[in-house]
């Protein structure tokens, strides 16, 4: 008997107008263009949804969530966290400025019995989150690594995911942004 396919969501969180904060959307777009998955894998750029994150986590078997993390370390460092790393009371790790939504959405879903069976957060330390900047050079380079790691994590869990022989062109509609300097003065 073949096990039913896992319901999977690959989610990028972040504000594409705030420099490195746009890493999540960039990483999932990179993943979508380079890899092909079975149809039970949803890929979402959710922007900055706050509590509206809940419907996308609801009842999933596996969620991979890419976001920026405010932690000590070199900008561009990629780290992996599981749900307990930041939900439990003892571990006070705060994942990004968006995590109030994540924290509460998970708490609600746990109580309703609909939280994801497994949640992995792929966090990156940002260099600069200035208004009107694109993702900076250091993190731009990490998006490919994050995309490869998403694929590895999926394959390890038995989700069918393979590299496209010809990648789809990326749709980074928000680039180029106007110069940050001219935004402040214009």
């Amino acid at each position: 008997m073949i096990a039913p396919a896992l319901r999977v969501a690959v989610i990028g969180i972040g504000n594409v107008f705030l420099g490195d904060d746009g890493f999540g959307p960039l990483a999932v777009e990179t993943f979508r263009c380079r890899f092909e998955c079975e149809h039970t894998v949803e890929i979402h750029d959710l922007g900055t949804p706050g509590l509206d994150l809940a419907p996308y986590l609801y009842g999933q078997d596996l969620v991979l969530l890419v976001d920026t993390v405010q932690a000590e370390g070199t900008p561009g460092t990629l780290s992996y966290y599981c749900e307990d790393d930041f939900v439990s009371r003892s571990a006070r790790l705060r994942v990004t400025g968006h995590d109030p939504g994540l924290w509460e959405a998970l708490a609600h879903l746990r109580l309703a019995g609909q939280s994801p069976s497994e949640l992995i957060i792929i966090g990156v330390i940002p260099e600069s989150c200035g208004f009107g900047e694109g993702v900076g050079a250091v993190l731009l380079d990490r998006a490919s690594i994050a995309a490869d790691n998403i694929a590895n994590l999926l394959v390890q869990r038995g989700v069918s995911c393979r590299r496209r022989s010809i990648p789809i062109p990326q749709h980074l509609w928000w680039l180029p942004l106007p110069e940050a300097a001219s935004l402040a003065t214009s």
């Binding site: 705030l18 900055t48 009371r89 705060r94 106007p178 214009s186």
Partner: protein
């Protein structure tokens, strides 16, 4: 006298700081300050006007479709472009379902914990709770077993010491006085609401291609292909899926959300006496029914000084009075310049000074209508509809009034509605109305398609000279307008006058405060260290401060700082 500063206010979208001066247990003065800069309009200058909506829907992480639609409507207005009826209906359905989602999340997840004390739930009698719930609603999910299961979960949560995940509620506060049974019922619906939040997202996803950022919009209509004989387009299967999702969603709105709002109102009648604030109301017409947008399912209008007899309709989006009356003032906001400017001439050059209560203290400008502050939102929507004799508004407002009266014999009038509790109730009434309208607009779409109309788009043509346009939407939080100036197909100015700007407005050049600030005067505060009553009134507006902030520090606790000075 105590000075209380709540920074940030929790359980809202974005960052808001509220300062109040409390004397003799009531608020004497109040200041609302938005602590982040929303400079996104600048990103739109120089962009292709056909693509503005893609950027506008990132103005806020929550109110995505709202800004997308206002943006295309502004450009279409500048070009006097008609929109095929199919496109109007599809946009309307998206807007309705987005609003239902938003209103459900606000009532349960963003504000219920101001009124329900979760810590009393273990002492509730589930059988009695089930009998109360089943006595007031035909909803299927109120069985004793269901409620017992929720009670067990809460007991487990309390035993594990993890109650803190529930938004730092003011448990045991003297202003909380629901019975344990009602707390259990509300909390059970709080958890069930998650499923319906998801269903309304699914409707938006089917029509918009994706959520939360829809992909089907275009200046001139929508990009949904309609072909009843094709599997890949809008066909009878898709229309049937929409119908079935709506049939799941609507009973939750009309038999749970509305009933809960009525029970809450009947249990806290004193809150019809607080929070009136600015009693000038503005609602804009929405849910257009024809290509030229001459007829609407939601009426617009202006009410001054709380007098429903004074209602002046805003008949359509061309309304000259509306265009001439809206200004924004930055005397007390962190922008250069000061006095009122018409939005097409609006400027947003930052001039940050720190919080100075006698000078500049917020990133929100002060919008004015003929020089006066206005309250926008579901309450304005309901009052304008009621005053204009709008049948659907009367139907659901009267249903709510009768339900409240049947519970505790409390008679609520449209005058009582102008209050903190009135704003909660109005949001539920509006949701019940929107549920009826969702089915109506799906039917309109289906009939139009079956009649052989598959048009969804009229291509735009941009003149070489300068054109100006304005797009309106009666959004979940109230009247929204985008004001654009276009030259050779490119934006040369872009200003969004958003609902929260109307309501969170600071004082203006004449020193007149905005709706949040005015509504807090006279608000009770029994314990300045736990200003729960202030939160009730602030949350009643459903603040959304445009979620573009990313400035929390690594150790930053999200728990609000309440400082008493």
């Amino acid at each position: 006298m105590a000075r209380v500063s709540i920074d940030p206010v929790t359980r809202i979208e974005g960052h808001l700081r509220i300062d109040v001066e409390v004397d003799g247990g009531t608020v004497q003065k109040a200041w609302a300050s938005c602590t982040m800069w929303r400079g996104l309009e600048k990103i739109l200058r120089g962009r292709d006007a056909r693509e503005g909506w893609v950027f506008a829907q990132r103005f806020c992480g929550v109110c995505t479709t709202v800004h997308a639609v206002a943006s295309v409507r502004a450009v279409e207005d500048a070009l006097s472009l008609e929109i095929p009826p199919n496109a109007q209906y599809i946009r309307n359905l998206i807007l309705i379902c987005h609003a239902l989602h938003d209103h459900i999340v606000h009532f349960y997840h963003l504000s219920a914990l101001d009124w329900i004390d979760v810590t009393t739930i273990p002492s509730a009698d589930p059988a009695r709770a089930a009998s109360i719930a089943e006595g007031s609603s035909t909803w299927q999910g109120n069985s004793r077993r269901e409620l017992q299961a929720v009670q067990d979960k809460v007991k487990g949560l309390i035993a594990s010491g993890q109650l803190g995940i529930l938004s730092h509620g003011y448990w045991g506060h003297p202003a909380m006085h629901l019975s344990p049974e009602l707390n259990l019922i509300f909390f059970s619906h709080y958890l069930q609401a998650l499923e319906f939040q998801r269903k309304s997202c699914q409707v938006v996803a089917i029509l918009g291609g994706k959520t939360p950022h829809i992909q089907n919009l275009a200046v001139g209509g929508v990009m949904n292909a309609i072909n009843l004989n094709s599997l890949a387009t809008m066909n009878m299967d898709r229309l049937g899926m929409l119908q079935s999702l709506l049939q799941d969603l609507i009973p939750f709105v009309q038999q749970v959300f509305l009933v809960d709002a009525c029970l809450l109102a009947a249990s806290y009648p004193e809150w019809f006496h607080y929070g009136r604030g600015v009693a000038n109301y503005l609602a804009v017409p929405d849910l257009p029914l024809d290509a030229k947008a001459t007829k609407f399912d939601l009426p617009g209008g202006v009410i001054m000084n709380g007098d429903l007899g004074s209602v002046v309709p805003i008949k359509d989006w061309q309304d000259k009075a509306f265009r001439a009356s809206v200004t924004e003032d930055s005397t007390r906001a962190w922008y250069q310049g000061g006095g009122p400017l018409q939005p097409w001439k609006g400027e947003s050059t930052p001039d940050y000074t720190d919080f100075k209560e006698d000078a500049k203290y917020t990133w929100v400008k002060a919008p004015r209508y003929n020089g006066l502050p206005m309250q926008v939102g579901p309450l304005a929507n309901i009052l304008v509809g009621y005053a204009s004799g709008h049948a659907l508004t009367h139907k659901w407002t009267n249903t709510a009034f009768q339900t409240i009266s049947s519970v505790h014999g409390l008679n609520v009038s449209t005058n009582d509605m102008q209050s903190t509790m009135g704003r909660y109730l109005a949001r539920a009434i509006r949701s019940a109305m929107l549920s009826d309208l969702a089915l109506e607009h799906l039917q309109l779409l289906t009939t139009n398609i079956l009649n052989g109309d598959d048009t969804t788009y009229n291509p735009p043509q941009f003149p070489a000279g300068e054109v100006t346009g304005m797009g309106m939407h009666e959004a979940p939080r109230g009247g929204l307008s985008h004001w654009v100036v276009i030259e050779k197909g490119v934006f040369t100015n872009y200003q969004a006058v958003v609902p929260t700007t109307w309501n969170a407005s600071p004082r203006d050049e004449k020193g007149i405060p905005g709706p949040y600030e005015t509504s807090l005067i006279g608000n009770p505060v029994s314990d300045p260290v736990k200003p729960l009553e202030v939160l009730r009134t602030v949350h009643s507006f459903d603040p959304c401060m445009a979620c573009s902030c990313h400035t929390l520090d690594a150790g930053g606790e999200e728990i609000a700082q309440v400082k008493v000075l």
